[in-house]
């Protein structure tokens, strides 16, 4: 199976499309998708008896009105970008990593475990240990699915999803049996040692330093996929597996590695959530990061350049959502609908833009 969203739908277009055709194909779908999604959502919001203009204004401006809102947006951006990249890297080889949730949770559990057990170590030692533990846990988790895929041809969509459900129990075991904290009020592990917590940059309120790490990872992903032979193999194996195999690329091995790298990013996201945000592993801490990561990856069409940008947009919507629920009264679930609509309309606009561009060219 070849990568579905990465291959440009250009196969039928003339060899050198005109400028107009290229603009139509590149920009129009996004504009159409955003406008249509907000129009449909606005109609629904109005039908529910709320003021759609007020609702959208809250969604879009909360992130920029206060330092707190902007901090929250950047904090959300970190796991969203990492999970989205964890989805798009395997997607480049046509494999679907739907296990970001599980990889994040085992990463968080491992990170919290190390942070609790070695709580007395100084930050210079403990912090790297915590982060490496999270990454390794993500690697192991995705590695199981990768092994099942590479050796036994078990569909990776299924294996990664099923491992999510196993990860809930892994965290639950850690949070209730091993390092339980009855005082926390929710099912959560004890707090990690001070040395396991990431420093804050900027502010107040400021963002945890994991932001820099996530930014570096995003940058590295762009460079590796575009400028190295490993990245070339990845893209070649996805675009045309047969041609890639003929030219000596071991497609199956590339896919396995891509899935494991995706897991590493999920684990990293979990570790950063523990050491940067919560200071412990909490059940339910993954909220809907998995869905959002996939939506971001698909809206960005798998492009490592666009993932961080789209992730920022989605983070704005997410932060605005809770504010909208508080002030305007529209349920925050509305925002997930808007995000799904953007994706659906983007897919539909692709078809329309493709037909238009062919006519213009």
């Amino acid at each position: 199976m070849s990568a579905p969203v990465l291959t440009e739908p250009d196969a039928l277009a003339p060899a050198r499309p005109s400028m107009a055709a290229r603009v139509i194909r590149g920009v129009l779908p996004y504009v159409l998708a955003l406008v249509l999604a907000f129009v449909v959502a606005g109609i629904v919001i109005a039908a529910l008896g709320y003021d759609p203009i007020e609702a959208f204004r809250t969604i879009l401006t909360t992130s920029f009105k206060t330092g707190f809102g902007f901090t929250e947006t950047l904090t959300k951006w970190v796991p969203l970008t990492l999970l989205a990249l964890g989805f798009t890297i395997p997607l480049a080889v046509g494999r679907f990593n739907i296990g970001g949730e599980g990889q994040l949770l085992v990463g968080a559990t491992a990170a919290a475990g190390v942070g609790i057990v070695y709580a007395d170590l100084p930050s210079a030692v403990l912090l790297p240990m915590v982060i490496v533990a999270g990454v390794l846990a993500g690697v192991v988790w995705a590695g199981i699915a990768a092994l099942l895929m590479g050796r036994f041809h078990v569909n990776e969509i299924l294996s990664t999803v099923l491992l999510n459900f196993v990860s809930f129990q892994v965290l639950d075991y850690a949070a209730t049996e091993v390092w339980s904290d009855p005082a926390a009020g929710v099912a959560a592990t004890q707090g990690v040692g001070e040395g396991a917590e990431l420093p804050t940059i900027g502010g107040p309120p400021g963002v945890h330093a994991g932001l820099l790490l996530a930014g570096a990872v995003a940058l590295a992903t762009i460079l590796v996929t575009r400028r190295t032979s490993a990245g070339f193999e990845l893209r070649a194996a996805g675009t045309n597996p047969r041609a890639a195999a003929i030219n000596g690329i071991r497609v199956e091995r590339v896919a396995v590695i891509a899935l494991i790298v995706g897991g590493a990013l999920g684990g990293l996201a979990g570790a950063l959530e523990v050491s940067g945000v919560h200071g412990r592993a909490i059940e339910g801490m993954q909220t809907n990061f998995l869905l959002l990561g996939i939506i971001i990856g698909l809206i960005a069409r798998g492009s490592a350049v666009w993932v961080p940008v789209v992730a920022f947009g989605i983070a704005i919507l997410e932060v605005g959502a809770s504010s909208m629920q508080r002030t305007v009264g529209v349920p925050a679930e509305m925002v997930l609908i808007i995000e799904a609509l953007i994706l659906i309309f983007l897919l539909l606009s692709d078809v329309i833009a493709g037909r238009l561009a062919r006519r213009v060219a």
Binding site: P4, N155, I157, L162, F165, L347
Partner: protein, 309 residues
């Protein structure tokens, strides 16, 4: 009733959501459309089924509306992948998100935040006279709510339709070789549309089953991975109703064993018991993917004008 009869009865009930969702997946898949939105459509079916039953006081209406909403999502998948030839996995995921969001949103709009949990009556048992008195298996098989009998009928009906009628053969040919089917005048697009719609309806009913039989109310985690397990079950069952039914029995047994072991208080951490169904599925998949055959055009769109497809 003795212990065995109770467990057997629980197991049969637990089979139903797996069975219906998996048969729905199978039906679309045999025509070549692979859905990955089960988990979302089931959640939406659970939400709608509960809300409509709660509002109208009739669980029958609730089930029918859940089926209709599921059919709508199934049809959307069929339409987007035939008329527009969009990627099946991507559209399936998009519909999964939309359904998940809609399920939560609808509940929030209709019920809002309440101090007490809103409840509906769970479906009553309909005992079949005489048959239920058969020793050992009587109560396990013939003392159930209507959806259990419905699931059994659908299983047998689909088996008969797919493997004993010409229309069923035509349907399967669309998933095996759409080009050949097309050349014989079998309407590929129309077949894909109705199978995904009916398949979606079955997933919706599978979702509605959960609040209307198990809990009496809707919660966000009510599906709990059954939609994804249903996909696994469909592969495991080799895309045939009779093997899917056997697989559903396996999944249901896992459910009941985990539940039973937890209640009986044996000294195993509850977490270990709760992962049994998922881990068992992963192990089984290793073997299932070796022998199970899959429709040749599963997940692939059909383009009449393409020379390679």
């Amino acid at each position: 009733m003795n212990e065995f009869a109770v467990l057997a009865q629980l197991t049969v009930v637990a089979m139903v959501p797996y069975l219906l969702a998996s048969l729905g997946t199978m039906l679309g898949g045999l025509a070549g459309v692979f859905s990955v939105s089960q988990e979302g459509v089931m959640l939406l079916g659970a939400s709608v089924g509960f809300l409509v039953s709660y509002g109208t006081g009739s669980s029958t209406v609730g089930i029918l509306v859940a089926a209709a909403v599921g059919a709508l999502f199934g049809f959307a998948l069929g339409w987007a992948t035939t008329a527009l030839r969009l990627d099946q996995f991507v559209v399936g995921l998009a519909l999964f998100f939309a359904a998940t969001g809609l399920a939560g949103l609808l509940y929030r709009i209709v019920i809002g935040q309440t101090a007490t949990t809103p409840l509906v009556d769970t479906l009553p048992r309909v005992e079949i006279p005489l048959l239920k008195d058969i020793p050992l298996l009587g109560t396990a098989l013939f003392s159930h709510n209507v959806l259990v009998y419905f699931a059994a009928l659908v299983t047998v009906g689909l088996w008969f339709f797919l493997y004993r009628t010409r229309a069923g053969l035509n349907l399967r040919s669309v998933g095996e070789n759409p080009k050949a089917a097309d050349s014989l005048g079998i309407p590929v697009v129309r077949t894909r549309l109705w199978t995904t719609a009916v398949g979606g309806a079955l997933m919706g009913v599978a979702g509605a089953f959960l609040p209307l039989v198990y809990t009496g109310t809707f919660t966000e985690g009510i599906v709990g991975g059954r939609g994804w397990l249903a996909i696994a079950l469909t592969f495991f069952g080799g895309w045939r109703p009779q093997y899917i039914a056997a697989g559903a029995l396996f999944f249901a047994t896992m459910d009941v064993v985990a539940l039973r072991a937890e209640v009986s208080g044996i000294d195993i951490p509850s977490q270990v018991l709760l992962v049994i169904p998922y881990v068992a599925t992963l192990v089984v998949m290793v073997f299932a993917f070796r022998w199970a055959r899959v429709p040749e055009f599963l997940g692939k769109n059909y383009d009449r004008e393409s020379r390679t497809g």
